[in-house]
Symmetry: C2
Subunit: 275 residues, 2 copies
């Protein structure tokens, strides 16, 4: 592992970032003192906007699944962008692209959602091989977008392990202008590489499956705490979903309070690891 | 490998099918004498409908990427269903689901596209592990839908090989009520299993990357002929895209002619392998 990535501040890392979306994200984290991303998985526009407005002050990143919103129309994008300006965060559409190059280029740029036009960051599986990165980069690079790769998954029985994870890191290494990091449970710099190759690697590590209490759900999701993820595993950004917005999107005060608490826990762990 | 699956007729296999979507598909293949699926990857509704209408008489299955259609609205689904009734085929939305169980259940049932409501078959990557099948089955099984798993990909440098492919087959084996087969380049029955376990396995093998001439594109896609796929590799359904509809969706006669030619090539190879 490249020594010390996780002991450098987000601000320092922003100055060395090779990709504009990564730089913006790291600058935002430093400025707002938050490494919290909220994953807002609701099916109504009204709830999506209300939750984002409630957690906005506490996050660096909002993770969306735009394709589960039942009443989506093109005006929703403008409303999302208004909240981005109001609260100073960026978007990560969690599309998990997973097709061949030509197809993902169309899925990313076109269709109803036009993801590349508004989402600063998106992500992809590496199972199709290099063509998926080539296809997405053909759309995203000219727009200053960044890509995360799924190097690991937090579900029970995930196949993103071992040589699969190493292949993901190698693809990232070969595409550092566009690939800014990983959805993963631990740091990835230098994985599968010689020490000279990995010396200036700096990947953002975004970790889902975070809860204030460790537990699981009936669909195989497993949870870890912010402290475990950031301090012990070197995660840069913790991703929290229902742990923050629960089951009532109208409970704004409770949602804000939870977001603030996760933000504080995540930041405290980050400050501790800098020492 | 379970001996003889590829020497049984589609009609015989329909009678033993454990899943209603698989049964409908196999019955359709036998009745229309076609093992051709056309993948229609265009961004305008008008072109999508025109191409489907042109190839409809020659296919058992239409493969869609509904999320690349720029002018999608809910009336498009009714128009697609009209063509389904007119030409007697079923739909396969090539969504390549690749997320955790809770998320794929929402992506499959909800959002703008409501894929489960109209697409008889969809597909998923197995990289998240068993939860993805559980999540999709919670929506698809009550509707009589079927799922294909990506056991292999036709792109250069695909990571769906070796133990990954074996894990996909094992997940299919454990979920034969819902998983009807694979996107793959060869037969999968019995892969990684003992002979007794695999004795009554029958998976549909759908093979993309088919062209009348072997060639490739600039994004890493590789092509094989209908004869190679069906006769040598035991593919059940050949998936053809631009090889049929080219670059001019208005050239209806040319598109129909190409579809007929692929249908004939695919069927000839199938009849030959029955002997």
């Amino acid at each position: 592992m490249s020594p010390g990535v996780q002991t450098r501040s987000y601000g320092q890392r922003a100055r060395n970032a090779k990709n504009p979306a990564a730089k913006t994200l790291l600058d935002t984290m430093e400025r707002k003192k938050t490494n919290l991303a909220v994953s807002v998985d609701v099916t109504k526009s009204e709830d999506l906007l209300a939750i984002i407005d409630a957690v906005g002050p506490y996050v660096c990143l909002i993770k969306t699944h735009i394709d589960i919103v039942e009443d989506f129309d093109s005006t929703l994008i403008a409303k999302l962008q208004n909240l981005e300006r109001k609260h100073d965060f960026i978007y990560f559409e969690d599309r998990k692209f997973a097709d061949i190059g030509n197809t993902v280029a169309l899925q990313y740029s076109s269709g109803v959602y036009k993801i590349a036009s508004w989402s600063h960051i998106t992500n992809a599986h590496v199972v199709p091989g290099p063509s998926i990165i080539k296809g997405l980069a053909s759309i995203g690079l000219p727009l200053g977008r960044g890509l995360l790769l799924l190097a690991e998954m937090s579900t029970a029985g995930s196949l993103a392990t071992g040589s699969y994870t190493e292949a993901a890191v190698e693809l990232a290494r070969q595409n550092q202008d566009f690939v800014i990091g990983f959805i993963a449970q631990r740091r990835m710099e230098g994985l599968g590489a010689g020490p000279e190759e990995a010396s200036d690697e700096d990947f953002l590590i975004l970790t889902p499956g975070i809860g204030l209490e460790s537990q699981g759900d009936s669909m195989g999701q497993q949870y870890r705490t912010p402290r475990t993820a950031v301090l012990e595993s070197g995660s840069d950004i913790i991703i929290v979903g229902r742990g923050i917005y629960g089951s009532d999107p109208k409970a704004i005060d409770a949602i804000s309070g939870k977001a603030r608490r996760y933000m504080e826990e995540g930041w405290k762990a980050y400050v501790e690891r800098l020492v």
